[in-house]
Point group: C2
Chain length 421, copies 2
């Protein structure tokens, strides 16, 4: 079989320039989140196919890279369906594996458990610009904490990180699934219609209030309900006052605690935040995943023109593994989008060490080599990154290449002038 | 399908305690290798099945996790062999993907290219204690440098790293495939027998000189050749003098440059090394992979009772992709073994920040919460990792748990004494 030079379809070779930014961001993420009391943890990239196909993954379950059974377990002759041939798959997110991990290791974990995960996930999506079939996810989750302290800490940690990366003037949009439902109930929609109503509502930022109204009428919903529903959105402001308005208006449909909790989250974050951003109560925020049970939130950034992260509360997912529900809330940042934005922006890494190169003449004798190695050791001890390379015929071009890598301080080392080094 | 709590067979959930050590070691590896001029790079975890089955992987090719074709490409009905169903696999090492990467990206890479790779690899090995089917590999490679400067830098960088992790008194055993071959030729073995001769020689440290002699005679090799061969090993010393002895004794079978190069490597490393270890010329060192073409080396550590890393020169592997050979040499450290040794040793991380916890009374009002969030911000600014948690009924047990995580400095925060915080 002929060898292939390109990476597999939809996946990417990471060049050194991008890796430098990635390594820096990874380091900063770990440091920042650990400062907020989160602990690193990791699950295998391969997960049981049963867990991946448990309906927690939504559409991602259609995009699984599936792994063939091995050895005697593989029965090609008698296999009737794909499932007879496979026993695992590459994880498509970090949340399903986290729930399995927690159910497997809860006895050895603190409670609440503040988890930090960074790892690749795989989705066999149609390849398109800027989206890859293997990409890094970066999630923080708090498991075992029912109170809104969890949401507050997740949002503070995430926004502090973004601030350290020089992102400003972004918005954290926040809502609660219970408010979504209360608004639909108040307006008179049937519970069985909620999912579809929210799918239409989710298009608000693209098609506007009129577009949403039109689609809802097309779907055959009562004009009264649609009008009552959309009038709510006209009245609700995107701040704490909006939350209070919901609390009053939706009385009987909405627990007072839900509104009070949301108000506490917004006001606490606004008061304690370490970065320049805005909290915005957004009653049109839906978020796709069906597993969310309470608060939901998303990072909007004008620069990017879309979401660069999001999360929410999913109090019923761990229970699928353990039989007992455990409060859980997570925040995932779009690592790849953030790296892309930094690269586009020509982000200067703040922590790069100075670089120093030694060019060695080809016929350098052993004692000259030792001298250079010794000088290199001293340069490293003084905090520099040191490159030693053999001199090429086209020294000018070689130096240009080195300069591109940041090695502008270059010493030529010749055999007949070792003493002068 | 029932959900499964355990990770897939042979793979491992990483608990926070182990992750702390892993994160620290990863950070130190990146910093140290970058100081030696290496650049991070990454390939996708999924590789073309053609590349994985190109006979460069030796026995690892039998252990591939294979990935099913997707969508319309999957033809279950007409598939005759496994290969009809799959198009990719999880990489079993970082060397094959590196060669593909270099062949795909050489135009955008400096020459020589000093690559640093850290990433998971997968092998469906029989599960056994301390060996897992997913494990981290950590390789440095220098591509495009024919001279022995490459070996010297790889060994210095690797041993400097081990020194920083407080490993001492280990040995770098070094040999050259060309010396192996010259010794066999000098003794009168037929070239077609070399591979088998080396397989037997490789058992020297387990079965000794007599055992090797016995196996060689069993294999039917001429007594003369075996005797001449084994006498060589009795005469060769494990130092530069041993290399010089080979150079003289094997004249006509061995290029003088090979011996001179090996001597230069050993003496340069001994002179410039930054850690406490020994270079040892070991003519019995074989290393399994068939792709090595020149120098080969291995780290021996008494603590571990085996190899914790190794590498060598493989000048002909990139040519399989490009049609043109490119000098290449790499050094891989056994990341998982190193982490295991550190954990067993109860290694204290030198860079851990001090930790501070706040326990909040459950009924804390918003203003109290804000006060604590503000104090936490100040503690982080002062360089501490801060944990804020809601107080539990069994506060004593909660504090014991926190202490286990390193949070011994704990402040109780009550609503009625916010002012005193």
């Amino acid at each position: 079989m002929a060898l292939k030079k390109k990476p597999v379809t939809g996946m990417k070779d990471m060049l050194p320039r991008e890796m430098e930014v990635r390594d820096y961001v990874i380091g900063l993420i770990k440091e920042t989140y650990k400062d907020f009391g989160f602990s690193s943890m990791e699950t295998p990239c391969v997960e049981h196919i049963e867990n991946l196909c448990s309906k927690s993954g939504g559409d991602n379950e259609k995009l699984i890279f599936k792994i063939l059974k091995r050895g005697e377990k593989l029965k090609l002759d008698t296999a009737e369906t794909e499932m007879d041939l496979i026993d695992g798959g590459l994880r498509y997110d970090l949340t399903v594996p986290l729930c399995r991990y927690y159910s497997n290791n809860a006895n050895e974990l603190p409670s609440p458990f503040k988890a930090l995960q960074m790892g690749n996930v795989w989705r066999a999506d149609r390849p398109q610009r800027g989206r890859f079939r293997q990409f890094m996810q970066c999630d923080i989750d708090i498991l075992g904490e029912p109170g809104n302290l969890a949401e507050i800490e997740l949002i503070l940690a995430t926004t502090t990180l973004l601030g350290k990366l020089d992102f400003r003037n972004f918005t954290i949009r926040i809502n609660d699934r219970k408010i979504l439902k209360a608004m639909a109930a108040y307006s008179g929609f049937a519970e069985s219609d909620y999912d579809n109503v929210f799918i239409i509502l989710d298009k608000m930022d693209k098609i506007g209030l009129d577009g949403v109204a039109a689609e809802m009428e097309e779907s055959g919903y009562a004009k009264d309900a649609v009008e009552k529903y959309l009038n709510l959105f006209k009245e609700i402001t995107n701040d704490v006052a909006g939350v209070r308005f919901c609390k009053e208006k939706l009385e009987g449909f909405l627990d007072a605690e839900t509104a009070d909790g949301l108000e506490l989250i917004i006001s606490s974050v606004e008061s304690a935040k370490e970065a320049e951003f805005k909290m915005s109560f957004d009653p049109t925020l839906v978020r796709g995943m069906s597993y969310y049970t309470g608060t939901i939130f998303e990072i909007s950034m004008d620069e990017f023109g879309g979401s660069v992260g999001g999360g929410g509360r999913y109090d019923e997912m761990i229970g699928k593994f353990t039989g007992q529900n455990t409060p859980a809330v997570g925040f995932s940042i779009g690592f790849e989008r953030i790296v892309m934005l930094l690269l586009e922006r020509g982000y200067e890494l703040p922590t790069t060490k100075p670089k120093k190169a030694f060019l060695i003449e080809k016929k350098m004798p052993a004692e000259g080599m030792l001298k250079v190695l010794d000088l290199a050791k001293k340069e490293r001890a003084a905090g520099r990154q040191v490159m030693i390379v053999n001199m090429k015929k086209n020294k000018k071009f070689q130096k240009e290449q080195l300069a591109e890598q940041g090695y502008t301080d270059v010493t030529d080392c010749y055999a007949d002038s070792i003493d002068q080094l």
